[in-house]
Symmetry: C2
Subunit: 496 residues, 2 copies
């Protein structure tokens, strides 16, 4: 459709579903991740950065019976001599690469291997509001031990991470459930058909949304949903459905009560008893370290991930309230999830390797910290040294070097200096705390003008004309006292 034969100009756009991050969006995330990494490190976890690109084979993302990867990943085929090389893809999480790394390097890694990883992952999914196709994950996993102590450690570490980044105690709870207990419940119910078990799992996945009554209907005959459509049920009798509901609603006044309720729900199932024992051990280990139920709790109503994981399942929820889109109060909700998965490495080696881990939702947690006012204050811009005399750039650069050498963020104005108003507008746009001015007159007298832009903005906003005159926001100081004056202005920031 180009009107002439010249190559049309390229569109200056990110691909659909991708975005750029600017300034504090980058640095606040980096600071949060550094704090989390410090906690992971203190727990003995080692950093791992695997390659962003994996073979589709290693990711396990080939479509059944087709030699093409599925559409959830960004993939391409390498050109080899025959034009038909390996299919490569961008990693879609940090767990699949961990399984590959462990299988590849297991002889050089300690057992158990505690590792953490943070970095972008890519999903070839339909983007939506707030849903991007590249986002950060931040994981910690322990590979090579089946001990519930490893699960307990992950929960304690998750709790520490949340407090370290600025979520106060009382504003979060790490909830623990166990897939084995659910398996025990199914066993107690006599549900042995894999298809029916899967139906039950799919149904309890909706527990968060439809509640106890809704799940009861869906396990039985079915349910009229909010849109008026009738959803067919699993077809269990009310008696058969009861143990699952007992499981989901077994949370008691304290951990002992919850565990007693669970033991009742599983009847005589051995796998169920194993699951309850694990929960009991995890709770006891955490209690010994001082993590009470106010921080980490056994809660069988946690259903997210029960289908994926094979043992204990964890979820960190933030319990403080925010206003949703419609102005209604609701809890902030989940910022992290994880659990035990014992079969990921087996794909590569044939040997089952027990593993447990957690993934922190980086963007969700950043949003939470913004809600709590922990981050997202106005960014500290640089002091701007203005240019009054284009020929004296060397003086200004010397001045800005002095300021920086004192540890103060500063820059010289590098745009066209002709219009001085533009220089102050620039300082404003940069969020500068102060602008420095040295014209020929000041130079001759050995002084500089310092404009306190924070104070200036406050005065402009609130003061009467009288006050304006009485409270100058521009100060003349000897050149030798410039750094001291800037320090004073920076120290006063946020006050007044």
């Amino acid at each position: 459709m180009a009107k002439d034969k010249k190559t049309p100009r390229p569109r200056a756009e990110t691909p659909k579903g991708f975005r750029d991050y600017f300034g504090t969006e980058v640095t606040e995330r980096a600071e949060m991740l550094a704090k989390i990494a410090a906690v992971y490190h203190r727990y003995g976890f080692e950093a791992l950065e695997s390659s962003a690109v994996e073979t589709v084979e290693a990711l396990g993302k080939f479509l059944p019976d087709v030699d093409r990867p599925n559409e959830g990943v960004f993939a391409w085929q390498e050109a080899d001599d025959d034009g038909k090389g390996d299919w490569l893809a961008l990693r879609y999480d940090l767990t699949a690469p961990l399984a590959r790394v462990y299988a590849q390097h297991r002889n050089d890694l300690p057992t158990p291997y505690r590792r953490y990883a943070m970095g972008p992952v890519w999903r070839n999914e339909k983007p939506g509001p707030g849903r991007f196709r590249q986002f950060y994950q931040c994981d910690a996993d322990t590979v090579g031990t089946a001990s519930p102590a490893a699960d307990a450690e992950i929960c304690a570490m998750l709790s520490d991470c949340l407090e370290e980044v600025g979520i106060p105690r009382g504003d979060y709870v790490v909830r623990v459930n166990n897939r084995k207990v659910l398996n025990g419940v199914l066993e107690a119910m006599g549900v042995t058909d894999a298809g029916q078990a899967a139906d039950v799992l799919r149904t309890i996945d909706k527990f968060d949304k439809v509640g106890e009554a809704g799940v009861r209907e869906l396990l039985g005959k079915g349910r009229l949903d909010a849109s008026g459509a009738y959803i067919d049920g699993v077809g269990l009798s009310a008696a058969q459905a009861e143990p699952v509901l007992a499981f989901l609603t077994s949370k008691g006044a304290d951990v002992a009560a919850t565990l007693a309720n669970l033991r009742a729900a599983i009847g005589g199932s051995p796998i169920g008893a194993e699951g309850v024992d694990e929960l009991e051990q995890i709770a006891a280990l955490l209690d010994a370290q001082g993590y009470g139920a106010d921080r980490i709790d056994v809660d069988p109503s946690v259903v997210r991930g029960l289908g994926y994981y094979t043992g204990p399942v964890f979820e960190a929820e933030l319990t403080f309230e925010i206003l949703d889109d419609k102005g209604r109060k609701r809890q902030f909700g989940s910022v992290s999830g994880g659990g035990r998965y014992d079969d990921l490495v087996k794909r590569f080696t044939g040997q089952s390797v027990p593993a447990t881990g957690v993934s922190i939702g980086v963007d969700r947690l950043l949003a939470a910290l913004r809600e709590k006012g922990r981050i997202g204050g106005a960014a500290q811009g640089p002091v701007v040294v203005t240019v009054m005399d284009r020929d004296r750039m060397a003086d200004y650069m010397q001045m800005v070097a002095d300021i920086r050498n004192a540890g103060i963020r500063a820059e010289v104005y590098l745009g066209n200096p002709k219009n001085f108003g533009n220089q102050l507008k620039y300082a404003d746009r940069r969020g500068s705390p102060a602008a420095v001015i040295e014209g020929a007159d000041e130079k001759a007298r050995g002084v500089v003008q310092v404009k306190d832009l924070i104070l200036g903005a406050k005065i402009a906003e609130n003061a009467t004309l009288e006050e304006w005159k009485e409270r100058p926001s521009q100060f003349e100081v000897p050149r030798g006292e410039l750094v001291a004056k800037l320090r004073e202005i920076l120290a006063g920031e946020g006050q007044g």
Copy 2:
């Protein structure tokens, strides 16, 4: 080729040319980048993290007259409704995305826009020893000003970065050259044909390798290279070639002498004079800030990038000597390069936008710091709390929590505790400074055993049997003094 119909096990391998980074490989890089980011930030540069995926169109990587991207990038076509969507690709550097970001967001960005970016880039190139298809770049650029003060600032900042990460003054020099001076030389020579100018540029690119005499031959009739092959020359007369050689060898005893030599080499060329003036301004601005020629020098023998950039060109070289593969001494060499490029944004907007910047070679600089012994010491492993009694895991986890709460990296042994020797082997493999042992007897007496593994290793290596007996590396301390004892051991590390 599979012997049966079962899916064969996937290979546990990174794709060819990719690798994983473990432990200190990750953390040392992160620490170095954080130090560089702090310098960039102090200079007023803002962080930018653009998406890793760009449209091929935005990267400018379509092959001429073909609707496919060139082979240097990893690219794939999006599936849209017609099965024919945009071609997407992984970024191959951080400069092309900056041009796209600036064109896309220019109305929201300050002018000039100083930004830094650090992150992986991908090249679809043949991998070789030490050459990977994913690697880190770390860039800083100023977009929107043609002022040589911006170039000077970049050079000063580069010098600060090198010192900040641990390259001592005297061990590096930032060299500055200018493409405009070379253009002036060509003008003075009467080389106006673009093809011939390109031939000259290609030839001086070899100056680093073949030296003055080699370039002289290549500008003239040609040259027999080391392999015995004859390389055709550009075909200039000796007199015509002289100004280019004068340019390349114009480095004088000080900056003033160099500039005088350059002025002689360019004859009356206006563009050449502009180039020499810029170099003079840059040197004067840097001198005013205290950056002498020992740190940042005008050096016309720097030819890398002269073909790509449009004005000043920078290169940071490390001048200390290392031994090469064959045991010969040579300078460490370049770790960073950059310069002024004024046409990148124009592709998108039609308007020329001046820009200048620098890219630090992250892996090269890390290698240099390793050479200088600044990084790469043995990593500090965690204190390992051993498990003597499987049933008392709660005690051990409480103990490890106490140690961690004192800020000491620590973990409890989570492997099978049956064989105690394996636990000590594990501690060894983890690089642990100490192991803690609490059996039933110790528990009953309220004490713990602490094995100083650093001291133990030293004694085992050096001591006679007598000394061995006299200098125990295992200590019994009251449980309440465990943390104090560990602090003592950690403080003594590296001594003795």
